[in-house]
Amino acid sequence: MSMRALYQEVILDHNRKPRNFGALEKANRRAEGENPLCGDNYTVYALVDDQGVIEEVKFEGQGCAISKAAASMMTVRIKGKSIEEAQELVQGFRHMLTGELEGGEKELLGHLTVFEGVAQRPERVKCAVLPWHALLAALEGGEKASTEGEHDVWHEE
């Protein structure tokens, strides 16, 4: 796989100009996502209404291009979705990164398939998935997601 296939223009663009970047004052859900091994650290904020719809979502923090672009594109994608829809997206995203996409998931992911190349780089999968895990933790009432240790959402199942 060429590096251009991994670092697609969309990814580089979101890395340079992350969307929905910054704190969300009125958030009612919030969780941190960290990768202690490489120092990536994000906070994901969400405002969820009574019907369980994600009205707004923002993030802040620092990390590599893959994790930052994944966070940025996630916020764009997730806004206006229900918690269940968000959970389905996380599931599909994870399946894509482990090369286990199921029927219909590719269509569901749409634009997010620009991250498909990450599956060829197992050591970078954690980067792409980190913001999604933080989002999931926030939506499910947790405070923290980590690529390691007790908050490692990846291995919870």
């Binding site: 670092y7 120092g39 893959i66």
Partner: protein
């Protein structure tokens, strides 16, 4: 199997050139992702030359048995080779006695041994432990654990933006101190610290000094008596030896007073239900069956390094460092982190607008192995206000071409990221 004597005799006649020396390392002959491998992660772990690999194979195929336990021939062979490895270590670092060299699993265990055996005994409530700002986590965390347990406090020797220790307030810091912990060479920055000065000043106040030599021992001739320190710790796998073996050198006067670190077989003279008497040095600190093969492998690595000569290695690495530093600086938008006047061949750097992790992936795609991250030295990163760096760490078996490939890879990084 005396590779060493033969090698040394040969070397005296005709110094082998670096091309030939590189070809001693079979692992470097492979391609990675369709590019010749340029291995620039030597500070994390160095590679083994064929001599060391052969020595391990020979041990496992002709000598393996437990040590110090058997009357039979194999056990005697293993014991002899193991004891010889310790003698090689002692000679290599110029220890005044072989029994001052304790085999451990690595630098980390060596430091923990001192934290237990020395720290528990001599460091109490309100005492101070002085630690430099540029330590690896393995020379921080054992002291934090001890300080918590004992109610001792930790003082940090500050560091400049260039990555040099600031010793202006060092004398005051030594008041009430029971130990100074400092690395000889920083793994994150490459800084060579002025150990002799630190030891002199600490000893004037009666404070012993532990030196983490993990990054110094592969790069320069180390003479523990000349340095004057009290403890010196290092790992085999960073000096062309195998993993699972390391050394703690300590002054006999301290080691004799210290408590054993672990209890078990091989470290006792007699055990009864009434009590136990410990063995003499070094065995008091080597409970259980040691890493026999790895220790023998370390001995072979020492033979190999000596066959080239540590001074020659240091000169060669200084050349490579100068070449690498120049070539990196010619690329715009790159900042070298760690610019001490006295530096070992470690080049930490950041590229504006690109996270080190992404640099690491793109370089790997071109066969160039570097490390990206905080290098187990998070306080160094915090001090310099950067999350991480990319790090190219050079060994004597690297060549200018490896640096050229690194630079080519960095051009790709800049092109892909448009910076």
């Amino acid at each position: 199997m005396e590779f060493s004597a033969k090698k040394r005799a040969e070397a005296a006649e005709r110094p082998r050139d670096w091309e030939e020396i590189r070809s001693d390392f079979p692992i470097l002959k492979q391609s990675v992702r369709d590019h010749p491998l340029s291995y620039l992660d030597n500070a994390a772990s160095s590679q083994m030359p064929q001599d060391v690999i052969d020595r391990l194979v020979w041990y496992h195929s002709g000598e393996h048995s437990n040590v110090h336990r058997g009357v039979h021939t194999l056990s005697q062979r293993a014991t002899r080779a193991y004891d010889q490895a310790r003698e090689k270590v002692a000679r290599f670092i110029n220890a005044s006695e072989t029994k001052e060299c304790i085999f451990t699993s690595g630098t980390t265990e060596s430091i923990n041994l001192v934290a237990h055996g020395f720290g528990r005994l001599f460091i109490g409530e309100g005492d101070r432990i002085v630690i430099s700002a540029m330590e690896h986590h393995s020379n921080i965390v054992p002291w934090q654990i001890l300080a918590d347990e004992k109610g001792a406090e930790i003082s940090v020797i500050p560091m400049s933006d260039r990555g040099e220790l600031i010793l202006d307030d060092f004398d005051e810091m030594l008041e009430g101190a029971k130990l100074v912990c400092v690395n000889h060479v920083s793994n994150a920055l490459g800084t060579v610290n002025p150990i002799e000065e630190i030891v002199d000043r600490a000893h004037k106040k009666g404070v012993p000094v532990l030196v983490d030599g993990a990054q110094a021992i592969p790069h320069m001739a180390v003479d523990v008596q000349e340095l004057g320190c009290d403890f010196y710790a290092f790992s085999g796998h960073k000096m062309c030896g195998p993993t699972g073996i390391g050394v703690l050198w300590g002054r006999k006067e301290w080691l004799e007073k210290m408590q054993p670190y672990q209890g078990g077989g091989d470290m006792i003279l007699s055990v009864t239900w009434e009590g136990t008497t410990y063995s003499d040095l070094p065995f008091k600190f080597e409970a259980g069956t040691p890493s026999i093969a790895a220790a023998i492998g370390l001995g072979a690595a020492i033979d190999y390094l000596e066959s080239i000569g540590m001074d020659r290695i240091a000169r060669r690495e200084a050349e490579l460092l100068a070449y690498g530093t120049d070539r990196l600086q010619e690329l715009g938008g790159i900042r070298i982190v760690g610019e001490a006047a006295d530096k070992a061949s470690v080049i930490s750097f950041v590229v504006d607008g690109v996270h080190p992790h992404d640099i690491g992936t793109i370089l790997d795609d071109e066969g160039v192995a570097v490390r990206a991250g905080h290098h187990c030295a998070q306080p160094v990163m915090d001090r310099l206000q950067i999350p991480a760096t990319a790090r190219a760490s050079l060994a004597f078996y690297n060549q200018e071409i490896d640096i050229d490939r690194l630079v080519a890879g960095l051009y790709s990084v800049k092109e892909i990221f448009g910076v």
